[in-house]
């Protein structure tokens, strides 16, 4: 690959036909660090988190009413229920919906806030109102999800700073949530737009704080349901129901978000961080006296610190004491973790892997690590090291594109500027990388072995044929190929395109050529 091709493809998201020639590829990349738009138009036009969470809140309220009504009509079923609404209200808190079962968000959210409001909406829809409401909520969340995916794709297609957009995608995958839970479906994009994007050109620690406070993460990793056993709420809960500390977010912060797996922390550190995090929760997903008592009734979807759920006392993480009170305690632990040497190693290894190859060069990682520690995790300083690193500019391709990179690259190559939401979500699902649905908080793998499989490549070929088939026959694949890969097109690819039996077949071959599969 030429330096220009590397800048466009390895660092960027693929060439566009309207891309001017890059005389100074490194300068082009560095300029993007300043030009980056945290809130581009397509994303700014989306509904805000408060609207999405407000709908979710309405839905949960409706389900509560539906279920109450069902019980009234059919009191015999009450005995089957493990927890009555009265109990929940007495406990002051009902855990939000985090059963961990795919799309099973409703399970834990029923009956929130007691029975006080049940008369407000007396008329339920015919047949099974619970199922109807669930379907409605899922459809609604799904439409938010589709809109967010389309906005992400459109930004990636049109942005004047594709290198910065790639970094957004990188960080969103580092702090992955997965839309396997109903409550996360509508909010996953918001995590990227509200917690990742504003901090991509800032400090790692600030991004960390923003992500761990975001409702999508708090709900996805069950933090919103975690209760300090010795807190006011916990004391009541302990007598009534099975509620208490949830370690999920704490563990993933240490293992995935900061230090990295097997870096010396132990179960004790996980538990201590989990205790420090108690009280970090989401407002507005519960109503009524219980929510007010606990202190979680605010604007739906906003972060709240519920002091009544916070475990009192000082905490010790990695041998260091954290005596802060309340919300500041976990924030202080995150500050500590966000600049820890193990975090520096973990983060910079992943960055190096993304730009210099599946086996990241040790020397490059060392330089990135030094920059991370010297600057306290200043991310643009790391990006400058990458742009300056000879390891990132070696001529042979170093990465096999994942389906997202390939799809965006193909659409950019075709000159598309707008996309249908269904087309993007459908394509990425077909290619094996549904957006914001990696299935685990570890995110998607960033190595070729995960993507360069026979079935995966066959699907790309099928997708390329369909995409090319929709493009007008006036687009000349031969001209487009030399435009996209100036001085970097292999003879084999040029020949295959030239010998294609139709313009659209030529485009399909261009989209699946080795030059388009790797970066």
């Amino acid at each position: 690959m030429t330096a220009a091709a590397i800048a466009l493809n390895r660092f960027g998201l693929g060439a566009r036909p309207d891309q001017a020639a890059l005389d100074r590829p490194q300068a082009w990349l560095l300029a993007q660090l300043d030009r980056y738009e945290p809130r581009p138009a397509a994303i700014a036009a989306l509904p805000p988190t408060s609207t999405i969470a407000g709908n979710l809140s309405d839905y949960l309220e409706m389900q509560r009413q539906n279920r109450c009504q069902k019980r009234d009509e059919n009191p015999g079923t009450m005995a089957d229920r493990p927890q009555t609404p009265q109990r929940r209200r007495a406990a002051g808190y009902a855990p939000p919906p985090m059963s961990g079962e795919p799309m099973a968000g409703e399970a834990g959210l029923q009956d929130k806030g007691g029975i006080g409001a049940m008369a407000e909406r007396g008329t339920a829809a015919p047949r099974d109102p619970v199922a109807q409401a669930r379907r409605f909520a899922r459809d609604q969340a799904r439409s938010y999800y589709m809109g967010a995916v389309a906005a992400r794709a459109q930004t990636a297609l049109t942005s004047p700073s594709p290198f910065a957009e790639r970094l957004v995608h990188f960080w969103a995958n580092h702090f992955a949530v997965s839309v396997d839970k109903l409550v996360v479906i509508g909010l996953a994009g918001q995590l990227e737009f509200e917690a990742i994007r504003p901090h991509v050109m800032g400090k790692f620690g600030d991004m960390l704080q923003a992500v761990e406070r975001h409702p999508a993460m708090l709900l996805y990793l069950d933090q919103a349901a975690s209760i300090g056993p010795n807190s006011t709420g916990g004391q009541i809960a302990a007598r009534r129901q099975n509620a208490g500390l949830n370690e999920n977010l704490a563990r993933e912060i240490l293992e995935l978000h900061t230090l990295g797996v097997r870096t010396g922390y132990g179960q004790g550190d996980v538990t201590e961080l989990a205790r420090a995090l108690t009280g970090w929760t989401v407002a507005g997903l519960g109503r009524g006296a219980g929510a007010r008592f606990v202190g979680i009734d605010g604007e739906p979807g906003s972060f709240v610190f519920a002091a009544r759920l916070h475990e009192p006392g000082s905490r010790t993480v990695l041998g260091r004491p954290f005596a802060q009170a309340g919300e500041d305690q976990a924030a202080a632990v995150l500050d500590f973790l966000g600049t820890h040497p193990a975090t520096a190693r973990h983060i910079t290894t992943k960055l190096a892997r993304h730009f210099a190859g599946d086996d990241p060069p040790v020397a490059l990682v060392a330089r990135l690590e030094t920059a991370f520690l010297k600057t306290g995790g200043d991310l643009p300083s790391l990006y400058r090291v990458l742009v300056d690193a000879p390891e990132c500019w070696i001529a042979p391709p170093v990465k096999f594109k994942n389906p997202w990179e390939w799809s965006i690259g193909a659409m950019r190559a075709l000159g598309l500027r707008e996309v249908q939401p269904q087309a993007v979500t459908g394509l990425l699902t077909q290619l094996g990388q549904p957006v914001w649905r990696p299935g685990s908080p570890a995110g998607w793998d960033d190595v070729a072995a995960s993507w360069a499989g026979p079935d995966a490549v066959m699907r790309r070929v099928e997708a390329a044929e369909r995409m090319a088939g929709r493009i007008s026959d006036t687009l000349d694949a031969r001209a487009r190929a030399s435009q996209l890969f100036p001085a970097a097109l292999s003879d084999t690819t040029a020949q295959a395109i030239a010998r294609a039996e139709s313009p659209s077949q030529g485009l399909a071959l261009l989209l699946v050529a080795p030059e388009s599969m790797r970066r």
């Binding site: 360069a452 026979p454 079935d455 295959a496 010998r499 294609a500 071959l509 599969m517």
Partner: protein, 385 residues
Amino acid sequence: MLNRRSFVTALGSTAILLPGLGGSMVFAKAATDRRFVFVIQRGAADGLATLAPVGDPAFASQRGVLAEDFAQATKLDSMFALHPALSNISALYASNEALFAHAVASPYRDRSHFDGQNVLETGGSAAYSVKNGWLNRMLALLPRDEAKGIAIAATVPMALRGPVEVASYAPSTLPDASDDLLTRVALLYANDPQLHAVWEQATATRMLTSDMAGGAGRNAAATGALAARLLSAPGGARIAMIESGGWDTHAQQRGRLAAQLRGLDGMVAALKQGLGPLWGNTAVLVATEFGRTVKINGTQGTDHGTGSMAMLLGGAVQGGRVVADWPGLSDAALYEGRDLRPTLELNALIGSAVAGHFGIEGPRAMAALFPESSRARVIDGLVRA
């Protein structure tokens, strides 16, 4: 995965017209009325998970979680139990219309699918040493009017290729451009080692046609029904070959294999039903290129092995028994410390079955079908005379 060749989904309710096999053609009445079907299991089907040696003292410990499928399975005898997904085939066994041979293998001893399938289909002793297929050479042994074979596939598979002309049938809804694109992609990747290897596998898999689990087994059942129609049409084929893929269960084997076996079971049932009284004159051979490792691997599956099992099904089969010289599953008994040790030549089973089925002398059939291992012993009595 999507399957370019899953022709069965294209089958409508309309009658099928076969080029060259139309009703207007007249054939001499055959001396016999035998039908033979070869179902090839491409991808190395796990014989130990199909017909499990539950009476082997090492079975449970060696197979681990794979043994659990047989907790409630009905035992055929003191040693073997059939996978519970094979309910129709189990009924055939009960009515003496199913014979299983275990610890069988072709002469091939390495673990490449494509080489292994070549040996299985050509009847040679090594990959590519024989240039045409044993099923085609078998046609040459039949009276001329009976020598009609058909492949239920888009192209004629190796086993049916050779001097005797055969048909293939697979309604295709594919635009030619797609196949053309696939060919061009192969050229595009020719000089790229990684993509070349990936593409070879991708297209090879695609060539394997419909896997048995596809369409929740409906594809397989439709294939069985189609084969029955082709075999019972007046003047129709006497010999059919059915492709099946999807047996390469390296990961999450239990669920996948159960779905595959259900598909196979449904296909056999549809074949039997479609053939009607002809089923009494039919022998169906089900065989795979090699077996799978005895032990489970790290992804809840099994890897390429050696010995496997084969089936002879049909009203013409002297069934209700398992033919096996059981080698044992203890570590010491395994072939190369990992695979089921073969103790019966698959060629002997096939050659003997064909000879008995079509009334050909055993040694003559063996020499024609398996010229490089023609001294394999003939097993008498596999099919009814």
